[in-house]
């Protein structure tokens, strides 16, 4: 169900597809008790994580569970409870589908006329931000890193379609190009409790270079990507996020595999643009405490 959804609409982030699947599952679920329902949902989330091991699926699933289970205390009757849960689920889905445009609205004002922007890999949120900036009649150029092993050529094509001048640079040329750019904008696969981000491998390098050159490093992410992890360093990120789901199942010794993501600590990030507002990295934890406590 999830795979078909993702293939149908490439604009939809994998987390939203996952949540849509969960909502469908909720509608069709036959359990008699709230506990059974929760258990089934948790199992489904785990199965979705096995199919697509990105951080966003995990965080989106957990947030969905939290959002709907706040009702379980209010209504004693199960069928009424389920109806309320489904309603809330639809509401949650609607809110997060709008989150990308909210982020774009907040961020595009930070792109000034004549700016040179550096971005990493292919991110639909960053694309939306650049789209809104272009629609606002701003002139800017974009440098995109090649982002191996699965190159980000698609990002360059999409930007060319919007008539934005774009240059593809090698991952190794980030240090070389840093003095030319004015700001760095990246997306995130997950935002962790410390305010750091988990993103495509190469982001950490980009952040370190931009810190060394004193260029602002902005992150754009929707709020459903906030996840309850707290990595202390690169090694502390759980294995199940570092590699693709197929790799995890097929390969025995993960030490030989190349990780697909890395962790950027909050000290290197200037600001995070989310649908909850523009946050500093230390404010992310405050928002998470409000969401989860």
């Amino acid at each position: 169900l999830d795979e078909t959804q993702v293939r149908q609409d490439p604009e939809v982030p994998s987390a939203v597809a996952a949540i849509r699947t969960l909502l469908e599952f909720l509608k069709r679920d036959q359990s008699e008790t709230i506990l059974g329902l929760r258990e089934n949902l948790t199992q489904t989330i785990r199965r979705l994580e096995e199919a697509d091991s990105s951080v966003a699926v995990s965080s989106g699933g957990e947030l969905f569970l939290r959002f709907i289970s706040l009702t379980s205390l209010e209504h004693p009757d199960l069928s009424q409870c389920k109806k309320v849960m489904v309603e809330r689920g639809e509401l949650f889905l609607k809110k997060i589908s709008l989150s990308r445009s909210k982020v774009a609205k907040l961020c595009h004002t930070f792109i000034k006329d004549g700016a040179k922007i550096l971005t990493h890999s292919s991110s639909r949120v960053v694309l939306k931000v650049l789209e809104s900036a272009a629609a606002d009649k701003k002139r800017f150029t974009v440098y995109v890193t090649e982002s191996q092993p699965d190159s980000a050529g698609q990002m360059a094509d999409k930007l060319q379609n919007l008539n934005i001048p774009v240059t593809v640079v090698l991952d190794a040329a980030v240090g070389y190009i840093m003095e030319k750019v004015d700001l760095v904008i990246v997306g995130a696969e997950g935002v962790v409790e410390s305010g750091g981000i988990i993103n495509k491998i190469g982001t950490y390098q980009l952040a370190v270079c931009s810190k060394a050159h004193n260029k602002p490093f902005y992150v754009v992410a929707e709020s459903f990507k906030f996840v309850r992890l707290y990595p202390l360093n690169q090694q502390d990120v759980p294995e199940r996020f570092k590699y693709k789901a197929d790799t995890l199942k097929a390969v025995e010794d993960l030490a030989e595999e190349h990780p697909m993501i890395d962790y950027t600590p909050p000290s290197l990030i200037t600001l995070l643009f989310t649908d909850l507002g523009v946050l500093t990295p230390s404010a992310v934890s405050d928002e998470l405490i409000k969401l989860y406590l």
């Binding site: 409790e193 202390l232 230390s282 934890s285 405490i289 406590l293």
Partner: protein, 399 residues
């Protein structure tokens, strides 16, 4: 001016914030006020001892050889005997450590409540609070109160004043005793279990963990992790004059954990081997600074230079609404005679009082900025140091 440790923090009133008396010792007017108050409460005033270093002359400095109880008549009519015993235990260092002191305080208060009878024409909720004030002044004279003790006292006073007036005495007393038991159970015992659960996730096999001094919480975590068969070894860092690390070392080795013992001067030598640093805290301040045993900020600083993650473990009842950016404003000066060391029959610094230009400084606490701390593990979960005010806000809403 009830509990000296509490600063008045009513923001909506335009009140000048008063500094607590124990950090204004060099102001004679404040000292006179304190002396008058103690006289009213019939508690002897403890006099300072020895020459004080000028930067810290605003703090008290007492000698362990002159405990407050020498000036009291025994049996004391004013102070409950369990409080006298507690005060002596504090001033001689028999009960030391943030959690131990709070628990001992709460147990002593339980005894006080058990032996209390309401005088005629008085209400328990008001009279008991007034009875506790001289005890708290006495304990403060024996050894300045810690942040955790301050929070515990605040809680007890609130519980006592919330007793309805129709409540019978026996009922009220049992209610208070159960409240205190629940506080100890929730805030200290269960919190330790919750913190261990989170902390064990951060300990992986093959880790080399550095600890400093003796923190009951950190010891608890390491023993639990060892029970859960995590393979790690511990480096215990210790410092004079207290040498508390020896106690930690003894307990860890008894469990079978492989340990190394170094003094703090060897810190930069062993840090390249270390994978994580676990520190305990005396209090967590509202601006994210960590107040802990002197030497902690040094460890955090050097660990940051070597890019070793620093994890601070602290229960939420030690969160404090004070703000402090340096270790001078509010601290504790211990007995300067502790710095004298006898080796091979000779005592260095034996006649330090005779040298007029010599001052001995035995600081107890220091303050670590949040930039050096990577993670704070509390019973509410893992938070960055900068989120302490949010937790305080959430807790105030709960209450």
């Amino acid at each position: 001016r009830g509990v000296p440790y509490q600063t008045v923090t009513l923001i909506h009133q335009s009140m000048v914030k008063r500094l607590p008396e124990h950090v204004q010792v060099d102001d004679p007017a404040v000292v006179k006020r304190l002396a008058k108050k103690l006289e009213r409460q019939q508690i002897p005033l403890r006099s300072d001892y020895g020459y004080k270093v000028s930067l810290f002359s605003h703090l008290h400095q007492y000698s362990r050889k002159a405990p407050l109880t020498q000036l009291l008549s025994i049996p004391s009519t004013v102070i409950h005997p369990s409080i006298v015993r507690l005060g002596l235990q504090y001033s001689q260092g028999i009960v030391a450590g943030s959690n131990a002191r709070s628990v001992a305080l709460l147990h002593a208060f339980k005894q006080v409540i058990r032996d209390y009878t309401t005088p005629p024409n008085e209400e328990l909720s008001r009279d008991l609070v007034n009875k506790l004030k001289p005890y708290i002044s006495f304990l403060n004279q024996c050894r300045p109160l810690s942040a955790s003790m301050g929070n515990a006292i605040k809680y007890i006073k609130k519980e006592i004043s919330n007793i309805p007036s129709q409540c019978k005495e026996e009922e009220a007393k049992t209610k208070l005793l159960t409240c205190i038991d629940r506080y100890i159970e929730e805030k200290i015992v269960l919190a330790a279990k919750a913190i261990s659960k989170y902390a064990i996730e951060k300990i992986s096999d093959g880790d080399v963990i550095l600890v400093y001094g003796y923190s009951s919480l950190v010891n608890n975590i390491l023993c639990e992790a060892f029970e859960k068969s995590r393979k790690f070894r511990v480096i215990v860092v210790d410092s004079r004059p207290r040498l508390e690390g020896r106690e930690a070392l003894r307990r860890l080795v008894q469990r079978g954990i492989s340990c190394t013992y170094v003094l703090i001067s060897a810190l930069s030598y062993i840090l390249p081997e270390v994978s994580k640093v676990f520190l305990g805290a005396h209090a967590l301040l509202a601006n994210g600074y960590v107040m802990s045993r002197v030497g902690t900020s040094q460890i955090a600083l050097v660990a940051r230079t070597y890019n070793v993650p620093v994890l601070v473990c602290c229960e939420t009842y030690k969160f404090c609404e004070r703000v402090q950016t340096d270790s001078f404003v509010s601290n504790e000066l211990d007995d300067p005679d502790d710095l004298m060391v006898t080796r091979k029959g000779k005592t260095q610094l034996e006649n330090w009082q005779d040298v007029s230009s010599l001052g001995l400084l035995n600081l107890v606490y220091d303050v670590t900025p949040p930039d050096f701390v990577d993670l704070v593990i509390t019973d509410l979960g893992m938070i960055p140091c900068t989120s302490v005010p949010v937790v305080l806000r959430v807790k105030n809403l709960d209450q």
